[in-house]
Symmetry: C2
Subunit: 296 residues, 2 copies
């Protein structure tokens, strides 16, 4: 069984997602909160310059810069592309990383509650998910395991085990106490679990857990020129992880017309109307509800 020696907690990967930034500050003042006997915990401020300017990023989204061929490409030299290389040097290198586990702290304007996003469904992750779900009633488990960890472009994909904690709803550039408390609670459960795992002392866990698995991303309605002509329907707004069925209204055009979802499965939308996704005219992600076997 694997042992975790080095864990990194990253905050401020997006400069206007405040919870991680403030938790890092808090933990720097009280390091005992995040230290555990069997491993070292380090913290890293992902995008300090974007935070200084109160923006998600300066040149491009830092959390999309961690593909191996981009990290190896010397021609990608803007601020976030350079920052990605520096972070890869510090925590990685991706594929053979010094850091065993990266926990990357994120906020969303969507009503997703405290969501644990996992990039693969192996023994560690499924046990971790079951452990956290048992201890946090509000926790949502979301698998984005449609590709390998290496194929993901996220910061946390540097390490073999990469986790995103995604908590909302929180407007950009705001600190909400409920969101901060959820994020801290989920982070500390993960650290506790790693400690138990290292000590081969994980408590009894259920055989399966209820989770969601990412399927696809939907775009906002556009005209032929690519201009946005509608918005997320009011019935879908805030209804993250509430099922959407074929024929349910999903968008309202600015002229008043309603557009319905034309899908052949029961979909669970999330990242609904996330502010940062407007850059690419994205409306929401969809997933399926799944029972995941806890691999013991």
């Amino acid at each position: 069984m694997k042992t975790f020696n080095r864990v990194a907690i990253v905050g401020g990967t997006h400069g206007n997602e405040f919870s991680g930034v403030y938790l890092l500050k808090k933990w720097q003042a009280t390091p005992a909160t995040i230290s555990r006997p069997t491993f070292e915990t380090e913290t890293l401020f992902g995008n300090p310059n974007a935070h200084r300017d109160n923006k998600r990023y300066l040149d491009c989204d830092l959390n999309r810069q961690f593909l191996l061929h981009d990290l190896a490409n010397p021609e990608l030299g803007n601020y976030e592309q350079s920052r990605a290389k520096a972070i890869n040097l510090q925590l990685g290198p991706k594929g053979n990383a010094r850091t065993d586990l990266i926990i990357d702290l994120h906020n969303t304007t969507s009503n997703m509650g405290p969501t644990l996003i996992l990039l693969k469904s192996d023994a560690f992750n499924t046990q971790l998910a079951a452990y956290v779900a048992e201890r946090m009633d509000d926790a949502v488990i979301l698998f984005e395991d449609h590709c390998s960890v290496e194929e993901h472009y996220f910061l946390c994909s540097i390490a073999e085990q990469g986790i995103i904690i995604e908590v909302g709803p929180q407007p950009q550039s705001v600190i909400r106490q409920d969101v901060l408390d959820w994020m801290e609670e989920m982070t500390l459960h993960i650290l506790d679990f790693v400690e138990l795992y290292n000590n081969n002392n994980v408590p009894e866990l259920p055989d399966t857990i209820s989770a969601y698995r990412y399927t696809e991303t939907l775009k906002l309605p556009e005209d032929e020129k690519g201009e946005r002509i509608g918005m997320v329907h009011k019935n879908v707004q805030d209804a993250d992880f509430t099922p959407l069925r074929n024929g349910d209204p999903i968008y309202t055009l600015f002229d008043g017309q309603e557009i319905c979802w034309d899908g052949d499965y029961e979909a669970y939308p999330h990242f609904i109307n996330e502010a940062a996704y407007y850059d690419n005219n994205l409306a929401m992600s969809l997933g399926k509800k799944v029972d995941i076997k806890v691999i013991k």
Copy 2:
């Protein structure tokens, strides 16, 4: 009795408050929605460059640049200061404006619902408030009449009658349908009222209306160096226009300590944890609940 000949509707005074920007686009496509027989309605895009950059403002807050001595000061020449002078030329000049009524459309990240902000409690405004309140169950009436219209630095203070429609909660850089619908409904009620007023045909109104009156603005907790050391307490978050009493928790410090409100009146907080107010470390505004006489 006054007649209104020219009404201006302003959207995008803050570039990342999207509802007004999208309503202006919508009404430009369907101008009949905002035209009425007895007056002209024009629309104005307050801060197009800030919207292009998806920010509240480029150099300084446009909606704080409309004091007479600032408008007259040639040394104030940054983008928003210049834009304020141009808008004052187009809709004003303040003190003797071509425009009889300005309706300025705003969003807040605070849970304020559709709020009608009025800068004085004269016959027109008190009748308007009563008219709107009777037609929109969710409407909140807020008087910011602690100084004269001329002494206000808001864009809408250019005209003798200036109104702010403030609708939330909406994260910056997002369009929520519920918020858009509220904003449009309130705007159209105001236009309908002006039409009735011009025709001396205002329907019977109650003798008083229930409203709020601004009293003071509270700051977030800071240390001696002016650094933020706490946040709005979770009990107060989203509780706009819910009474706050002496001894109620109002802030939580990042070290966990709770700070209680030490006040000698029943306060009604609003603009609670508004993202844009972090620039000045403001936590919320307070008001008193009042019965306002409808002047007929």
